[in-house]
Subunit: 653 residues, 2 copies
């Protein structure tokens, strides 16, 4: 009876085995007969088709109107614009203008242009953006970092102190290129280019730029006449030290600048404590300008060494079409500067736009924004504006002042226009030290120490990128900082591909799931079977040899550890490998040959569509044998365990 | 009764549910409590430790000897060297020398050096390699591609026709740098640098270089005196056309060269048909040289326009230590040329060495080979040799001639040395056309059309890389060809990271396995649950926004297809994602917020060790909730299906 029962039991087991075998074979068949991936040319044609389809989906009549609406979002939201919204927008716009006028003059000074050019850039670009842009909170105008970039990069070509007109022409030309690049990025959906400046790189870059900008302000704050055109900390401090030692200097500049800086920072402190007084810090700069101008005018301090603005041409933006220098011998460099400014300006604008859009709960289309910002800079370059973008600090003020739509930008632009017509003569006596203190007061917003700390906590490599960008800007130049940051970011990506990790897997108790044994110490390895997973999306020329070497060294180590039993089968989990190239296939072939020479059978688990197809084409599947390719690691291990010793020994000989 | 049975059944089901729930929770616990990955600094220290450990593992006594053995493999195999082996090696060495002497003279001519420098490079480097290298078959000496590289790159700095001595000094200096770079690569285990020239790039580059070298031989073959220093097809053909039109030319050169080229190719054909006559094609070049020299000497053809070698200084290698130009103003460029030659020479040597090693069934250590090749070039640069490496064609001859060890290289070097002492005066009348035909006859081996076809079949992108390298060399320059090939190769890697694929998964019938529904059309999606897998090893600044956008657009499309039921849960399979940076985390946070606003719950399946840790540190796990993180897609889907509608609705509100 007992033997009978045993027999029937073993027959049942065999039947069960046979059933699981059949199911497994069925799954392997699915794998082997999976559809061919689209061919290379098919993919190319498809991706073109998709883009064409997108534009021809609608009826021709609707297309034009939706195209217009897409290009000019004002056509959509303008129809629902209400009087109550305008009330809010006019308040926000006036607050914005009061902050924008002194800041624009200061930034023009930073960009080494006459003060009116800063105001020009606060008139035309906001108006263009208002009809084309989709952000409701962004405040458009000149910003500190781009002004610094322009002065640092273009000063290298022409010294503004020697030939201010040629310098200014190059600035307009660079702005033209900036706008052109930005519009092209948007039109060709190259929005991802902005992602190349990773978040930690931006944090580091902005922090470094803020300090550099602050140091540049020492010129105005201390009333130094001879300054350096370099931007790195060492050169600037050297220039300051030399000036203070060799030239007479007038402490009045410092006293004026410092006291108003204190005043502005005080109002900001009050504004933060009492949210209702948000207008106080926004008005403080304008108030400082008015007060200090009055003081200088009344006390005739300009005759006692206080540097004043002096040149300030009023009137609306003149045309600058004929000042664009496309025949300049420096055109290549100017285009490069345009590209750098385009990317930095877009990064800032899109970061600002997105963060406020997410607060208000709507989504910004990066590519559309790029077209809008590109167009505003293109038009700007023809109307005497230098590169404008979305400003961090002013957008925050615009938001706290309760703006409802981009109409606040229109209000601001008109206010600035009126002041250009009426008030510029009054600003003759404005001390430069006040402009410096207004710029300095805006800088703390650019230095984000808490974010740098967060980056440090989450990702050390990111922190290195952040610090590298910071130090690069500080001790090298803005360009070097950017290049270092982008270089490290991409170096990290390439390093990840060149040196991918390879992990040992084990079975989780009570499941058919196989996991990394480092991540899950409970996972157990199967005797005689080694499961190795390749942790990279591509097995290619850059890593194939490395992966082959790593796997072989693991196999060698394992063969030495006698305790774990003789190694008979190596299961290579290819779930993560999405693509393989000829070098990758050669590496697999070599690996297989070397394993065979050691009496170890190679099994491939879960090869993906493209990989499977290429392994077939390259005849690797034939070399290995269909039966050693499995849909999952579980199937592979089961098959290996089920295989009778006879089976395995025939393989091993 | 019926209801009772139903009840007990439903209780059983509930118990079963509870049991699976517990098991699942247990698994999630494993995930949540997985060990912390080693910190950044820990990893750094570990990788340094590992390298130090490797060298200090053995006892100090054994260390020195094993170090010596590692550096000079001859100490290992030399003790087992037998007389029978020497018989084979001497035969192979003599065959090799007979091929090497005419080829070396020809390649020296290609490198725009006097002929003896080619022979010098066939004396010292093979001797050094013989004591340091581990390949048994490789034949060391000057090769066509490196000779072309040297003449093409250094001619740009100094024209050898104007100042041959300064040119030669720069060649030695470049060789010094080549050796130094190669040795450093080997010592610092930077062997992977050689992988940067992917296999298809090498195939294309070699093919293009072969054609360029062939075109360069038109000078000798046609007896042209005024030639171009450029290497691209257009310039060379232009120069040939101009010369033939404007200068008198002597068809005798062509007749001589072409008839001996025909002779050499004939012998090769015969050698291929009859394997026993392998020595015939190997001896043919030397035979051609002897015969043609005799013909010219006897007929005094040199007085009838046949160009002959003339300058040929005999004697062993003179020292060239004092000719190295480290104070040259071109030192930077020379170092760059040294680097390019180092990589190309290593690529060729290691490819040759590895392929013959795999035929004989032993493994070559790339890093050790680099040290050996670097040392031989370093010593070579001090003894009037220019860059030598492993030659494709001569290694094949060495192998067919039955070489047993690298002793055949020693035999060859000594034979070349003897000919330098005794025979150089006899080569005064050797016609240049013969050297040209010897070089041309070696070129077909460099053009691997069948491999190019194989690449085309397996991988279209690889084929584009191959063709780009080919055309770059042909119509640009050797440098441009290399840069294009490396550029496209890396561009492909970066593009893969910037635009990773995102796939929809479904359950394979009868299993708990979830697979790509494109690869497995049998896989079925679960109603109300969308499973998306990110197919890249890193979720980082370069792709985070793209992935977020792709996922959201899939969700939007799915929500529009009413037929598949309301979408309630999105399972994000992160199995492939090995690392995440701050930008990646921000993208996940934004994705979660946008899904929540659409009433969809996000679930994360199988986050890997590093990712899980960072999600914890960045508090994303807290934001999402532990219960929405699962060990596998199967667990996630089961949990979603088991969850009562009430549960889901509380999530959705």
């Amino acid at each position: 009876m007992g033997t009978l029962a045993n027999e029937s039991f073993s027959i049942e087991l065999q039947q069960l085995d046979a059933a699981t075998d059949t199911a497994r074979n069925q799954r392997t068949q699915w794998l082997l007969t999976s559809p061919n991936p689209p061919s290379f040319f098919h993919q190319l044609i498809n991706s073109v088709k998709k883009n064409v389809d997108k534009t021809t989906k609608q009826s021709t009549n609707g297309v034009f109107f939706s195209f217009l609406k897409g290009l000019f979002p004002i056509l959509s939201w303008g129809r629902n614009y209400k009087c109550t919204m305008f009330k809010h927008d006019i308040m926000a716009g006036l607050t914005l203008a009061s902050l924008c006028i002194p800041q624009s003059i200061g930034y023009a000074n930073l960009a080494k242009l006459d003060p009116q050019y800063g105001l020009y850039a606060s008139v035309v670009p906001p108006l263009i953006y208002a009809v084309m842009g989709s952000s409701r909170e962004i405040a458009i105008g000149p910003v500190a970092v781009v002004s610094l970039l322009i002065s640092a990069l273009i000063s290298k070509i022409i010294d503004p102190a020697v030939d201010p007109i040629a310098y200014r022409n190059l600035v307009f030309t660079a702005t033209f290129f900036t706008g052109a690049f930005q519009a092209v990025f948007g039109l060709f959906r190259l929005g991802f280019l902005v992602d190349f400046l990773s978040h930690p790189a931006i944090v580091g870059f902005m922090g470094g730029a803020a300090i550099v900008i602050g140091l540049q302000q020492l010129k105005g704050l201390l009333g130094i006449n001879h300054f350096t055109t370099k931007t790195d900390v060492v050169s600037v401090l050297e220039a300051v030290y030399k000036s203070l030692h060799n030239e007479p200097w007038f402490p009045l500049n410092f006293v004026l600048g410092f006291s108003f800086l204190f005043f502005i920072l005080m109002t900001r402190f009050i504004g933060k404590r009492n949210k209702k007084l948000f207008w106080l810090p926004a008005m403080a700069p304008l108030l400082s300008v008015v007060l200090s101008t009055l003081i200088v005018y009344l006390t005739k301090a300009d005759q006692h060494g206080v540097n004043i603005v002096k040149h300030f041409k009023g009137g609306i933006n003149p045309s600058s079409i004929h000042q664009l220098q496309f025949n300049s011998p420096h055109i290549g460099e100017i285009a490069k500067i345009g590209l750098i400014c385009a990317i930095v300006a877009l990064t800032e604008a899109i970061a600002v736009g997105r963060s406020f859009a997410s607060i208000r709960g709507y989504h910004l289309d990066g590519n559309k924004e790029m077209v809008a910002i590109g167009c505003m800079n293109l038009v700007g370059s023809l109307t005497s504006c230098y590169t404008a973008t979305g400003s961090f600090s002013r957008t925050a003020v615009n938001y706290s002042a309760g703006c409802e739509t981009v109409v606040s930008n229109i209000v601001m632009a008109i206010t600035v226009l009126i002041s250009l017509e009426l008030l510029t003569k009054l600003l003759y006596y404005t001390p430069l030290a006040i402009l410096a203190s207004i710029i300095i007061s805006a800088l703390p917003g650019l230095i984000d120490i808490s974010e740098a700390f967060h980056i440090w906590k989450v990702d050390k490599t990111d922190f290195i990128i952040c610090i590298a960008a910071f130090l690069g800007v500080l001790f090298g130049s803005v360009e070097i900082g950017l290049i270092i940051a982008v270089g490290i970011s991409f170096g990290k990506i390439i390093l990840g591909t060149i040196r991918p990790s390879v992990e040992l897997q084990g079975r989780l108790p009570g499941t058919d799931t196989f996991c990394d044994i480092t991540q899950f110490p409970v996972a157990t390895e199967t005797q005689g079977v080694l499961i190795i997973r390749v942790n990279n999306a591509s097995l290619c020329f850059a890593n194939a040899n490395f992966i082959r070497g790593r796997i072989l060294s693991i196999v060698t180590n394992r063969s030495e550890e006698q305790s774990k039993g003789k190694l008979r089968i190596l299961v290579l989990d290819m779930s993560s490998v999405m693509s393989i190239d000829t070098s990758g296939i050669v590496a697999l072939e070599e690996l297989n040959r070397e394993l065979v020479s050691q009496g170890i059978q190679l099994a491939i688990a879960n090869p993906r569509l493209e990989v499977m197809n290429k392994l077939k084409v390259a005849k690797f599947v034939d070399e290995l044998g269909n039966r050693w390719i499995f849909l999952s690691v579980g199937d592979a291990v089961d098959a290996c365990l089920n295989a009778k010793m006879g089976d395995l020994s025939t393989i091993n000989c």
